[in-house]
Subunit: 263 residues, 7 copies
């Protein structure tokens, strides 16, 4: 099939843009990230690759400020993301300068999405291999959360996730997010994000990075100690739930005659 993905992003006979889909594949190989919008906060959480013991964590951070009121994270090619987000950061600054007020969250999202789309229709340039979660506050003080894809598509979300993610995590998010969306309880929101990541990755706590952005406040990175503590709590909860579930199942099993085959 080399002819279809030769030199530029073109259509395959069944209407697909293969280079865009391959870029999406690069995103699906990236670390898992989660974004959540509560009543008055944006909470971002990322799975961190097993950091080399020699690496300085600061530069490995994947949650980043774009402007005082904007926080962003991403899944996919880190180098591509850096270029893309630097340009977005420049646009945010230039917006402040030109219009004497911060850009809205959607404005910056649109800017990123447009840049991405243009690379899917340019002569001889590949699409960006990056999916971004962009959170922030508009002039009304309300939090907003957006996601953009390599194709240039974007939507607004109450919560979303991208990268190497499992079905369980999405199910967890869909089931448990609504309660969070109008809650002012940051602690609960942080725990929710950590638990979502834990659901998907089942990795050690030291590998999660979580940040909270509130209106007109600086970006707050949740301390690793707190994250570690939350992971312990979650582990216990999961264990309890499983125990409860097992007990309930056992009870039910007990109700069935022993000669009944397991279903």
């Amino acid at each position: 099939m080399p002819g279809y993905d030769g030199a530029v992003t073109i259509y395959s006979p069944d209407g697909h843009l293969l280079q865009v889909e391959y870029a999406q594949e690069a995103v699906r190989k990236g670390s898992t990230v989660v974004g959540l919008r509560t009543k008055d906060s944006i909470v971002m959480g990322v799975e961190k690759k097993a950091v080399d013991t020699l690496q300085v964590e600061r530069t490995a951070r994947k949650i980043r400020k774009l402007d005082d009121h904007l926080v962003v994270t991403f899944a996919g090619l880190t180098a591509d993301a850096r270029i893309l987000l630097n340009r977005a950061q420049g646009e945010a600054q230039s917006h402040r300068l030109n219009f004497e007020r911060p850009a809205t969250v959607e404005y910056i999202t649109r800017y990123i999405a447009k840049l991405k789309q243009s690379y899917t229709q340019s002569n001889g340039r590949r699409p960006f291999g990056v999916s971004c979660l962009i959170g922030g506050f508009d002039a009304d003080g309300k939090p907003r959360l957006y996601q953009t894809e390599p194709s240039g598509i974007y939507y607004e979300w109450a919560a979303n996730t991208t990268g190497r993610l499992g079905k369980t995590m999405r199910e967890y998010l869909e089931k448990n997010t609504p309660a969070m969306s109008n809650s002012p309880d940051d602690a609960a929101a942080i725990k929710h994000v950590v638990r979502a990541l834990h659901t998907s990755t089942a990795l050690n706590a030291s590998f999660y990075e979580v940040a909270v952005l509130k209106y007109q406040q600086p970006l707050h990175m949740v301390s690793p100690t707190m994250v570690a503590h939350l992971v312990q709590v979650i582990k216990q909860e999961v264990a309890d739930e499983e125990a409860r579930l097992k007990k309930s199942l056992d009870t039910k099993t007990y109700a069935r005659p022993l000669w009944a085959g397991q279903k």
Copy 2:
């Protein structure tokens, strides 16, 4: 056949522009949209993909204003559509500025169509994978509805549909639209559009989005409740029709001797 769709939109030996046809394929994979022009309104309806429960509906909206007097929807690649429609929106604004009156519906349609055609004849750029329905009002206060294809073709319509659409829907539209075209009854028109979508997609009401544009009035999004109500009404009507039809068929069947095999 890679040679024919290698780097640019070129002709196949039998005179086809393959990249344009593949882009059309991308349109045929998009959600179904319907546009209707009544005596004094434009009604647009779209099938919505099963929206993730976490998605904020507002950004997922596919019916969009281009100018005070112009409404548009589309089927195909959302990111492409956004670029195309942003440029059209810019053109509409610039027309107002330069000529001190709004652009006609056909002017904007022509602008979009020309942009699309140019991407089918440019060195190394793929065509837009988008089909647009453009509705609006000219200075005479008359509603007009146009459709453009990835090739850059456009026509004016009393009603039309594009995207992943069934034959039944088109038949329904052709049969039932004429009565609407000169009717000032918006409620009937909205129901007509919902029923057309229902005919094709047979999905749950919450997945339809409907909007009405009237001369010198803001774009009116029909409430989900109303849409849901209409779907119930339509379901009942369809059930009644089928019952009637069945009865009539039974009567006829009755007329045939029992030993006659079913046809």
Copy 3:
């Protein structure tokens, strides 16, 4: 044979420009159009695709004014034609502005032909998939009719046709046009054009569109009623002719012994 039609219009080993020939193939797939030059009129006729009942006929029109004294129609890719003819229209206007008199019919034809040729010799752009019939009046008040091909060739004609056309139509035109060329009888000319289209397409009358341009008069679209009437007249004539022919053949057959097998 992919190598010969890879990226640009180049020669095949036997001296053919394949992309140009494939573009011609796109023309041969288009609807049939006819142009006729009488003593003092240009008559254009087009076969119309079975128009969707919902389509607004006005935009589907394929006979178009380029300037007050110029009428044009085409076969092939509609979107390409629109671009090409818009540029020709611009050139006609600019000619009026710069030289304070209308462009001659040949001047505009040459402009279109030159544009077409340039796309057969450009780096990475495909030829236009359009054949145009261009009619109009020069300062001497004489009608002139030209045709251009995707290659950029053009000639002047007393009458011509292009698109999906049959041999019968061309034979009909060659046999019957000379009588028209110096006739001032528009009614006869219109009937001639309709009959030519009928010869080729044998379709229902509602699918022909006919227009007449006279010196210093606005373009006159022949009414569908008139076209329908003409089709009836022609059908009767054809039937009469066939009857006459059959009779004459029968007479001849009669002259042959009955046991002679049919030839």
Copy 4:
């Protein structure tokens, strides 16, 4: 062998420029043209394709003035020729303007040849598929005749021919031209050109077009009647010659014993 003629005019391993040779093939598919330089005239003759009865002959003319003192004809792609000769015509006009005297015949030939060569060495453009015969007068009042090839080669000739030509014609020209070169007899020259065309094509007279250019005189198109008359005369001469030849052969045959097989 697609690799050698892929995107531009490049060398094959044995030092050939294939696209140039294929363009030459397009020339060899064109109508036959003849040019003759007599003592004080340029005579051009072309074979005309069986013109459609509806075609207006004027635009189908292949003998064309480039300037008051320059006449040109060509074989090959008509649309390419038009572009090439329009540019030459522009150059001739611009030469008059800049230098206040007409360009020499060789100057214009060189201009055309240079343009042709540049298309054999440009990135992504095909060579012109045209061979030109250029005749005219320099300031000394002497006629000159040149020919250019798709490669950009040009030479001066007493007489030459290009297009779909037979060996017989070239032999006829080589044998019979010298007598013409210093003759002031236009009538004889015209007959010579017609006979050369007749030798090669053996077609009906109505299909030859002949023109004569003399110093400081307008281009004279020989009337079709005259051409037809000359064809008749030539046919008679050919018949007479053949008769004479046959007789002479018969005499010789007679000299051979009857049992000798025909050679």
Copy 5:
């Protein structure tokens, strides 16, 4: 697989940028380099290819100053590195000029990383085949060490290594670096770097080059004599360790009955 790495850096179906991965392969073929950040120094060490006895060592040096406060080394294509580092050097100078203070280490790292990324997304240019270690001091007098990859990714490190490196070396670094990171003992740091290189390459001492950069001090190249001395010390240490290990193993072996099979 030629289609995926044809003309530019594009995605393979599984989301990889092959040209970037091949450039990384070029890095993995380069000489091993090590960078270490101690409490107040940057120590860089490189394995030197067996230098031709005729080569002047000075130009073969791979540890280079970018600015008074910046030192850099690299693995991969030397010519690419020179271009890349010259541009970084220019940027450092221009930063001093424009902002009247030195660029931070991260600023220069970002500049290099951005340049690298841009070559992975440009039309027709290959990525840089270079991985850089960049060390230096910010205004706070603290040492910082970064590494950039051909993709444009960069991270900060306590110590890192790139090029043709073995697993043993990385293990050695991870185990032994932490003790160094806050140590002000340059001698120990130098020995640490030499031992790391020795672990990986086991080559003769004359083939290591080591440099130390301290805040507001000139770059100090460790003398070859010192390096040679350190290698001797390290060899002895390694021998001693191995002897100790052997002894301990022998003791254990002794403890097992002779008839036990070797594990």
Copy 6:
């Protein structure tokens, strides 16, 4: 092997520039040319293709003045040569204008060579298929002779030859040129050049063209009569030599016993 000579002049795995070698092949297919530098003259001789009897010799001339003091001839593609030499001629004129003295022979040679080289390293342009012999006089009145190849290589020569040439000719030149190099005898030099051409081509005299350039004198074309005369003289000499050689061989043969087999 299409990959190596696809779109530009690139290296084959064994370090060859194939397009340059193919261009050299085009030179080897060209007519033979000879250049000779005597004490105070440049003599150029060319084999002429069997000129069509109708061709005007003047334009077919391959020996050409570049400036008053410069003469040039070439082998290979005539159209390429014309472009190349026109540019050289322009450079010569511009040199006179800018520096108020003629360009040296080497200056113009370098100019041509540089132009040729640039076409071997440009994006998408083929090399010139031409080898040039450039002769002329510098300010010291000394003749100089250079040759350039399609690659852009050039050297100075006492005498040289290029095109479709035989080994015999080169041997003849090498053996007999030294005597000419310091001779002021133009007649002998002309005969030398003719004999060299005769050695190689053994064609009829009318097909040689010979020219002599002396310091501050116009280019002198040797008359065809003189060339014809020289060919006769040479033929006689060759015959005499062969007779002498035969006689000498016979004598030697005689010395061998008759029963010795022929060697």
Copy 7:
């Protein structure tokens, strides 16, 4: 393997830049050149291809001045070298003009190396097929010698060689150069260079060209007579050495019993 070296210099899967390696192959096909840096001189020597007896040696010279204080020679494509060195010469002149002092040897080397590297990373241009030896003097009066490769790599050398070279020559150079490096004896240095060339090529003396550059002195070309004399001396020395060696071997052989098999 055509895909990897298609249109530009790109990476092969194992991290090689194939076009650069093929260019290096072109260098390995070039004539052998040697450069030597003594205490106060640069000596350059080149193997000359068997010069055609008709060639004027002056232009065939491969040792060339770049500036008063700079001498250069090369192996590989002569036409490429000329372009490259002309640009370097221009840079040297421009440096003098701009900075009012000569460029250092390394500055010019860097300039050449940078130019070379840029052609390995440009869209659609092949690398230079040239390896250069650049010698000269800096302001301190010290000689310096550099070598650049097609990749753009450069190093400083006490002595080096490139082109079609044998292992013996490199071994000879490595063994015998150190004694020369600090010697002020030009005669010995010249003999050293000639012997190095002789070691590798074993050709006749007339085919070596040797030049010496000293601080603030013009470039001195060693006379062919001297070179020839040196070759004789060297031949004798080689013969003596071999005799000595043979004798010593014979003695040793004598020491072994006759029945011992040859080792």
